[in-house]
Symmetry: C2
Subunit: 315 residues, 2 copies
């Protein structure tokens, strides 16, 4: 059996796993990024953890065939260079050469959303499916695309920026500096903004009571108040789902995937979100009656998708 390391570098923690070629997790864990001590410190720790997890799993390094690393930001996969990763404040760091030297196995890198998409496609909700898209609805909107079995990353890995397709020309300002992006309507951040706006406009809304109980407004507030019968919350949720369907419809026009997987905090709404999004997507998707249907499902690997997909980069 062949084994693979997968490394998912986040803002605070680095998740590291050792999996076999079937996706069985032999060992997983996490270490602090220690980002304030610089890239070499972090990479040394990653390499040490990898080697240790092989030893603890009784796997000799000759059976480990590669290491994949994913990070947020702009990653040049071909050159093996992290062009820019905001959370850990890296600029133009060549981590592939460094880690290959430490580990003695081939190292590949990609961004975190691409890795999660690959993880879900190989081992998760799209296992066995050649055309899938993963969309994460969290602080931002990210995602990754598998078309005809291949990860689509765009030129110099600078594409697959699913959250930055424009779904409302000249619309809400986006964190990226542009306007009207998918992310500006369908991130948790956008949902919180819209929930607060609706509260401003409807002072009697149940949203106030729900927010009081929660101690704050978050991505769940509108969903909870809607379930409790609040009409204002219902409007917020319906608008959110309609925009979500618009974004998924655009992606479907390009890739016509068999499956779109939703991940991230908002996807915890489960079937309430999934089924309503599917219905809305079906009502607007191109050539809905002729072309193959697109199924909306919930991603299944949770926080493991990143390191598992990173590991799959070398498979």
């Amino acid at each position: 059996m062949n084994y693979f390391f997968g490394v998912d570098v986040g803002g605070t923690f680095v998740k590291i796993g050792l999996i076999d070629e079937c996706g069985t997790v032999m060992k997983k864990g996490q270490i602090d990024t220690g980002k304030e001590r610089g890239p070499e410190y972090m990479l040394d720790n990653i390499a040490a953890y990898c080697i240790e997890s092989a030893i603890l799993s009784g796997i000799t390094m000759s059976d480990v065939k590669g290491c994949g690393v994913c990070l947020p930001g702009i990653i040049d996969s071909e050159e093996g260079v992290v062009m820019y990763s905001g959370n850990i404040e890296w600029h133009r760091i060549n981590i592939v050469a460094y880690l290959e030297n430490k580990l003695g196995v081939p190292v590949k890198i990609t961004n975190d959303a691409n890795a999660a998409a690959l993880g879900e496609a190989r081992f998760g909700a799209a296992k066995g499916i050649k055309d899938s898209i993963f969309v994460t609805l969290g602080t931002g909107v990210g995602g990754g695309i598998i078309s005809d079995g291949k990860l689509i990353v765009g030129r110099k890995s600078a594409g697959a920026e699913v959250g930055h397709i424009i779904i409302q020309a000249f619309g809400e300002p986006c964190s990226c500096g542009s306007c009207g992006c998918f992310e500006a309507y369908c991130s948790a951040t956008a949902l919180i903004r819209d929930t607060k706006r609706a509260m401003e406009e409807n002072k009697k809304s149940l949203l106030y009571q729900v927010a009081d109980r929660q101690g704050h407004v978050d991505g769940k507030t509108a969903f909870i108040a809607e379930k409790e019968g609040d009409a204002t919350a219902k409007k917020v949720v319906e608008r959110y789902i309609a925009y979500l369907a618009v974004g998924l419809s655009s992606l479907s026009s390009i890739f016509r995937p068999e499956v779109i997987m939703l991940g991230g905090g908002i996807s915890n709404e489960g079937d309430n979100l999934i089924l309503r999004t599917q219905a809305k997507l079906d009502s607007m998707i191109f050539a809905g009656k002729i072309a193959p249907s697109v199924r909306v499902v919930r991603a299944s690997l949770g926080n493991d998708a990143g390191f598992m997909g990173a590991a799959a980069l070398n498979m």
Copy 2:
């Protein structure tokens, strides 16, 4: 030298060419579709024309390595079946088996926009470039995508529907039945609609005089009146270009192509359109300062792009 047939089935004519592997056109011409006489009649005529053009070019059929056919509509390239082609009124016609039998060479099919994209990528404005997108601005908006050297067609070839990404959620109704599509803002049809609307709102606009001279309102009317100093026309053109940039920006977020080629009637505006679209795109594209730039150019093969790209399907 190897040679290839390329066939571009339009609503009225079928363009047929014989090219070598470098893209040199040995012979080209067109025949009537004769669509009222059914598929077999048309396919027999196509096969006869192909064989004749090889003979007339002094090329033996053993040097012809394939035939590619492109058509408008929904084409299942894998199965070789035309699922639906509105112009010629075909439903579920397996043309690959039929033509292979007639010609004795491998036959592949794709839709017309994908073929044009491939033609431009192999022999035209994106020659030698691995990541390009072709967008045609005509009666509708169509296009094709080459990512990492490969034509992206989506699952069952039902993707790459560039004109049906949604750029304005819940916006203008589109011919596809959905709303807010790229096509509903950037086709010549949409530009004519918007020109007429602007005329309604500004009865003193120079647009009336230009339309009088032309005898009608078309995709050029606003561009002409703008050049003659009309403020209303300028607004129409600027709005058109802004929407065009929005659509191209979305496509760039997914594929980050090196080049986007504009074709179709509106692209005849040339640099006036190209340079202004480039400037607008640069102002809104994701990570414009960090990620690789995307160049907007005019497509170069004109009406030959389709059959040349079809021919390239077998290269």
